[in-house]
């Protein structure tokens, strides 16, 4: 078992180092999310008390769009110098590569969220009226849901024509239940209505994560080796 974890660790370290030196994905993601925050603030009054109800949706839509920017780059990087082809002919397990990429993207999106959330709080005057600690599992499970599907679909759209457009076209319809859960859970917590609870949405998100992580791991090798 040491070989797959070794490959995962090596690929992950390489991706993190590349990102640390170039900061391509993080910079474009951050700037993109910032633009979304500013543009959305024109479409409604961000200081109104009602904006609390739409803030959950707004935050997650901004993160989803920004994540797509990073996800599009994740495999394209391996096309240069035929790195991916070398990986395909090597006996290394495909899932080790997939996990490394998924974890790497997860970390990037987590950094994005850590930087952007304070900005959202400041710009939209947000504070949770419900149990705020529940936002943590929602954020972790939701980010993983976006990232695990996104990494898989990015690998799928890698060799298609107009790859950059393909990824959101594949990703958004499939992630609708996860997106709905994240938005509803966040809104429930922010609004703090005592008659409803975010627990169902967190359970649904966890189910979604388990189903699609299993699905991705079961099918990734087939997709990687599709001729």
């Amino acid at each position: 078992m040491s070989a797959p974890t070794g490959i995962t660790r090596a690929t992950l370290t390489k991706d993190l180092r590349l990102e640390w030196r170039s900061k391509d994905a993080l910079n474009s993601m951050l700037f993109f999310a910032l633009l979304v925050v500013v543009v959305f603030s024109f479409s409604f009054d961000p200081n109104a008390e009602e904006s609390r109800v739409i803030a959950g949706g707004l935050v997650w839509v901004a993160f989803l769009f920004a994540a797509v920017v990073a996800l599009n780059q994740t495999w394209a990087r391996e096309l240069r110098n035929q790195v991916l082809d070398a990986y395909r002919v090597s006996p290394a397990p495909a899932n080790a590569l997939f996990l490394a990429k998924a974890i790497g993207n997860f970390l990037f999106v987590v950094v994005l969220e850590a930087v952007m959330t304070p900005l959202f709080i400041v710009f939209y005057k947000l504070h949770a009226l419900g149990p705020a600690w529940q936002l943590f599992p929602v954020a972790v499970l939701g980010t993983w849901a976006i990232v695990v599907n996104g990494t898989f679909f990015a690998a799928m759209s890698l060799r298609t024509r107009s790859r950059e457009i393909m990824l959101p076209l594949l990703l958004f319809p499939i992630t609708i239940p996860a997106l709905l859960s994240m938005v509803e859970a966040t809104t429930t917590i922010l609004v703090g209505d005592p008659s409803t609870s975010a627990k169902f949405w967190i359970v649904l998100l966890a189910t979604y994560d388990v189903v699609f992580t299993t699905g991705s791991l079961a099918l990734f090798e087939t997709v990687l080796h599709a001729e």
Binding site: N149, S157, T160, M166, P173, I176, P177, L204, L219
Partner: protein
């Protein structure tokens, strides 16, 4: 088989006109909705046909993926058989856990039908055949699903007073439509060699998504009740008769379209293969 095609075409045309006559003339007028309700005979059969086609698309995609490797093929056979046995017995054992209007016999019938379809496709379609079948059923399924989404608002406007409402059925049908449109887009945009595998993987993901979509929207909408009360209650047996006639006609029509699309795609692939082969040959006919 080729001779059966025009005969079936004629039969379908006759059946469709008979079903139209039944729906517009024979079926009794609905008490509250009046003649508008007759759109029901197109709306519901289209929905059932679309769901059936999507189910076939899923089974064909699974078959395409598992048959790439003899071992997974064998495992999948056992899994499908085990699922059929489970649905036959599970419904009766856990009868109390089932929702009120779901009978153990309907669970068993569904399980047997799915397993039966799986083995039928497995027997009569080659590896490439299952891929073409998946493509065909997705295309025709999207058409029927579009019919559902268009006739729905046409019916809703005079009856509910609104074109669209974000209720459970409408939203989940729309999401299903979106998933299969993205499937067709992927097929269109990927390079020919890898299309079948990628499309099959996406079809499996889409099918995994369907129950999650349904549950999430179900909970979403029970939290925010709608002013619109949909259906429920019983149906006049004469109406049910007309509905089933229409469904039969629509099924025949869908089968006919799928069949011709299947043949067209098969011929197109044969032509491409021949052209590729010819390109390898010298004018003299010898392999270079």
């Amino acid at each position: 088989m080729k001779k059966a095609f025009p005969i079936l075409g004629l039969l379908t045309a006759v059946l469709l006109s008979y079903a139209l006559y039944e729906a517009l003339v024979v079926a009794p007028q609905e008490q509250t909705m009046g003649d508008v309700q007759r759109i029901f005979y197109y709306h519901v059969p289209s929905a059932w046909t679309a769901f059936l086609l999507f189910a076939i698309n899923f089974l064909a995609s699974v078959l395409y993926l598992v048959r790439r490797n003899p071992q997974t093929d064998r495992i999948a056979n056992w899994v499908v058989m085990a699922l059929a046995v489970l649905t036959c017995t599970g419904g009766y054992v856990f009868r109390s856990a089932l929702p009120k209007d779901v009978y153990p016999s309907s669970v068993a019938t569904t399980g047997i039908a799915i397993a039966g379809l799986y083995f039928l496709i497995r027997k009569y379609f080659s590896e490439q055949g299952t891929d073409i079948l998946a493509l065909t059923t997705a295309e025709v399924g999207v058409v029927f699903c579009t019919v559902v989404l268009v006739t729905g608002p046409l019916w809703a406007r005079p009856v509910w007073g609104i074109w669209w409402t974000w209720d459970l059925r409408l939203t989940s049908t729309l999401v299903l439509w979106l998933i299969y449109v993205s499937y067709l887009v992927l097929r269109r945009f990927s390079s020919s060699g890898e299309t079948p595998v990628l499309a099959a993987a996406l079809a499996v993901f889409g099918a995994l998504d369907v129950p999650l979509v349904y549950f999430s929207i179900w909970f979403f909408r029970t939290q925010h009740p709608q002013p619109v009360i949909g259906g429920g209650g019983s149906i006049d047996p004469r109406m049910l008769h007309v509905l089933l006639i229409n469904w039969l006609a629509f099924l025949c029509f869908a089968f006919l379209v799928c069949w011709s699309r299947y043949r067209l795609e098969r011929i197109q692939r044969d032509v491409e293969e021949t052209q590729a082969l010819e390109a390898l040959l010298e004018p003299g006919g010898q392999v270079r």
